[in-house]
Symmetry: C2
Subunit: 243 residues, 2 copies
């Protein structure tokens, strides 16, 4: 159960092969010194696991023959999408790492008026997410979207059954708002940047169906706000998975 | 509201004076270059704030005359005590910093069989807690106890109305266990070290009134387990504070 797993998104199931590249190739071949003929466990980040044997090790890629396929039992919790004002790189890394471990399925940095930082290294964040899925023994790698404008975020999550905006000046608390809601398939929540949302951004979000909710009384650092609110949502909608 | 506050636990209210020492002295005098005659805001970490004027700056201490006293409105949430298996210094710092910001009132590192680390720098953790209270705009500095044995922890929190043990093999989830509980004055929760509780430790805790509860399905790093569970408890018991 605790066996090491390598991530790959290059699986050709019809041909029965999968390819290890990038970090996972390096980790398997350079660090763990895996050889041709060794058996390894792969996961595709979408809920599938593969037992495989390494057939051919090239300079940057290892070709693996798939021996068996296993479908992971995925927790039956709502799909949570998290949008956040672009914050500094360290905070961003923590948000992705921790909220991935808690089971968030989609992240989207959103350009906002009070964001200090303007650009984001999405590739790096994707690696952080894959690493976090491995560490937490999960099977689903969340989607990490490129930075978008607020209007685009509204479009992306327009079908979410519940849309929340984390805002300390809100009239209702996250707890009270969720109290009587327990059966849901999708939740979207958006957090402001360090400088918080502008009034105009809040208004736009409300016009697009978002409900402002306050968290707790204290001021929380960006990633603690995200992690604590996401934790609350995840625990609130938690359903047992048979193992 | 966002004004900088200096921490002091050396207040003589009868004499109308307070003393700034240690980090807060350095910060006020060396970093912010406060002079005699400057007005500053102090807080004692127990819910009191003081407006004061610096009267005398010595080598390691600044004497301040108290001008006015203000009692903070403290959120009417249960007093949460967190015990945790001694973990590595970095994780410990994050636990104290984040769980303090969420409003935990007492921390206690507990020596357990599977703790890798054996000693803890309590003074350093106290500074981390004070810093976190300042950052989060809180007013209560949590108590940080010295490392104790498990039996001692049971004594310390024996009067808590609800006692929880965070354990992934538990039969009931934190969510389900808390569902119908909303009026409580005190909660104690204990987390294992990196190597988890031994079966014997779990049994001892149960004998002492602790209820094992599981968090979510994923494996969580020590501090993410603490922060997410504490966040859930805090949001669950959240009550409005008039401001």
């Amino acid at each position: 159960m605790h066996e090491f797993q390598f991530f790959t998104d290059r699986v050709n199931l019809a041909a029965g092969v999968a390819y290890l590249v990038d970090d996972d190739f390096k980790h398997a071949v350079k660090v763990l010194r895996k050889k041709e003929g060794d058996q390894i466990l792969l996961f595709d980040g979408k809920g599938m696991k593969y037992g495989a044997v390494i057939e051919d090790i090239g300079k940057n890629v290892a070709e693996c023959r798939i021996l068996f396929v296993e479908e992971e039992k995925v927790p039956d919790t709502p799909i949570v999408s998290v949008g956040f004002g672009v914050v500094k790189s360290g905070a961003l890394t923590e948000i992705i790492r921790d909220a991935t471990a808690l089971g968030v399925r989609r992240f989207c940095p959103v350009a906002m008026k009070n964001s200090v930082v303007k650009s984001v290294n999405i590739q790096r964040l994707k690696r952080v997410a894959i690493e976090s899925v491995k560490q937490s023994g999960g099977s689903i790698v969340p989607e990490i979207l490129d930075v978008v404008r607020l209007e685009k975020w509204f479009e992306i999550v327009q079908d979410a059954e519940l849309k929340l905006l984390a805002y300390q000046s809100a009239g209702v608390t996250l707890r009270n708002f969720l109290k009587d809601r327990s059966e849901l398939n999708s939740v979207a929540i958006i957090f402001g940047p360090e400088g918080d949302f502008t009034h105009e951004e809040v208004k736009k979000a409300v016009d697009n169906g978002f409900v402002p909710v306050k968290l707790i009384n204290q001021r929380l650092r960006s990633n603690l706000a995200v992690v604590s609110a996401v934790a609350y949502i995840m625990y609130h909608f938690y359903r047992e998975v048979e193992s």
